[in-house]
Symmetry: C2
Subunit: 192 residues, 2 copies
C-alpha cells in the first residue's frame, strides 16, 4: 500500500494539513496517485499513532484551526525501507479498453462521443502539464549545456521534473492512440 508513502513524500516536499494534502492530491500528485480526503485523514491518524508523523496545531484567523503534519524520523525510515523494497509493476484498470472491446457486441459508432470526451480530457491535462513545466522548470540554461557552474543538482526538482515528463509522454501517447481508436470506429460508421 503506497498511499502512506505518497503522503510521506508529499509531506517531505512540504508539511501541511490533511486538507492541504487533499488539495495537492487533486492537483499535481493526483495525476499519478488519487486519494480522497477521507483516506488521507484516516492514514494521517494511523501514521500519527505509529509515530511516523508529527502534528502541530496551527490556529488561524477567520477559519478553523488546522493540524500541520510533518514527517518524523520513524516515517523517514519507513519510507527508506519501502524505497529499497521492490514493487510489482502496477496493476492496470482501463475502463475505456473494456468499452472498446465491448462495443463489438453493441454499436461501435455509439462510442465515438465517449472517446472524443476522453480525448478532450487528455488534451486538457497535457496543456496543464506543459503550462506547469514551463512555469516550474522553464527554459534550460543553454550556453554550453549543463555544467558545474549551474550549481549543485537539485534532486527534488530534477526528479519532480522527470515524473512530470512521464505524465506529458503519457498524455501525448493517449491522444495519438485515441485518434487511432476514432479512426477505427469511423471505419465502422461508414461501413454501414
Amino acid at each position: 500500500m503506497a498511499l502512506d508513502h505518497a503522503i510521506l513524500v508529499s509531506l517531505l516536499e512540504k508539511p501541511g494539513s490533511g486538507y492541504e494534502l487533499a488539495r495537492r492530491f487533486e492537483r499535481s500528485i493526483g495525476y499519478f496517485w488519487t486519494a480522497t480526503h477521507q483516506q488521507i485523514y484516516r492514514v494521517l491518524k494511523r501514521m500519527e499513532g505509529d509515530g511516523w508523523v508529527d502534528v502541530r496545531d496551527v490556529p488561524q484567523h477567520g477559519r478553523p484551526d488546522k493540524k500541520e503534519y510533518s514527517v518524523a524520523d520513524a516515517g523517514r525510515a519507513a519510507l527508506s525501507a519501502w524505497l529499497a523494497a521492490p514493487i510489482e509493476p502496477e496493476s492496470v484498470r482501463h475502463d475505456l479498453a473494456v468499452k472498446i472491446r465491448g462495443a463489438a457486441f453493441d454499436d461501435p459508432a455509439a462510442l465515438v462521443g465517449e472517446v472524443e470526451r476522453h480525448r478532450q480530457v487528455h488534451t486538457d491535462r497535457l496543456a496543464h502539464y506543459l503550462a506547469g513545466e514551463a512555469r516550474d522548470f522553464g527554459e534550460p540554461p543553454a550556453e554550453g549545456g549543463p555544467s558545474a557552474a549551474d550549481g549543485p543538482l537539485d534532486a527534488e526538482r530534477e526528479l519532480q521534473h522527470v515524473v512530470l515528463r512521464g505524465g506529458i509522454a503519457y498524455e501525448r501517447m493517449m491522444i495519438v492512440w485515441l485518434d487511432d481508436v476514432l479512426a477505427t470506429l469511423g471505419r465502422f460508421e461508414t461501413a454501414r
Copy 2:
C-alpha cells in the same frame, strides 16, 4: 464497477468457466484489467443470481467438472447500458512515480536497479504484444489498401486490434520514459 462488464465482454468473445476466465485475465485481458479468481467467481455467482449469465455444467474426464458461463439477454442489456453511460477517465496509481519523487529524500542512485527491473518488464510485455499482434493480426492485405474485397469488417477483431495497439503504444512510451528516468538518476550518481 467495470469488472462485471469486463467479464461480460470476455464471455461474449467466448463462453467459459470461472477458471478459464481467470486465466484469460492473467494473459491478454489482464494487461488492461486485472482480477483474481476469487473476484471472478464471486461476480459470476452474483451475475448468475441476477440472470445476467447462464450456466451449463460440463462434465470432464480426468479433471473436475466445470461450469461454463455464457451471457444471457439481461447481461447483454446491462452491458449496452454501461456502454452508453459516460465513465470518468480512470484514476491512476503509479507506485514508481511516488518512488522516484521519494528518492529525492533518500539515495536516488539506489533506485537504478528497481527502474531497470521495471524497464525489463515493459520490454518483455512489448515483445509479448508484438508477437501476439503478428500471430493474430498478421500483415495488412497491402495491394491497394483496404477495399470491399477484403470482406466485411470484423468489428470484434478490429477493436481487439486497436486495444492491442494501445498496449503497444503504452509499453513503448514507458520504455522511453524509463530511459529518461535512468539518465536523470545517472546524473546524480556521477554528481557525487
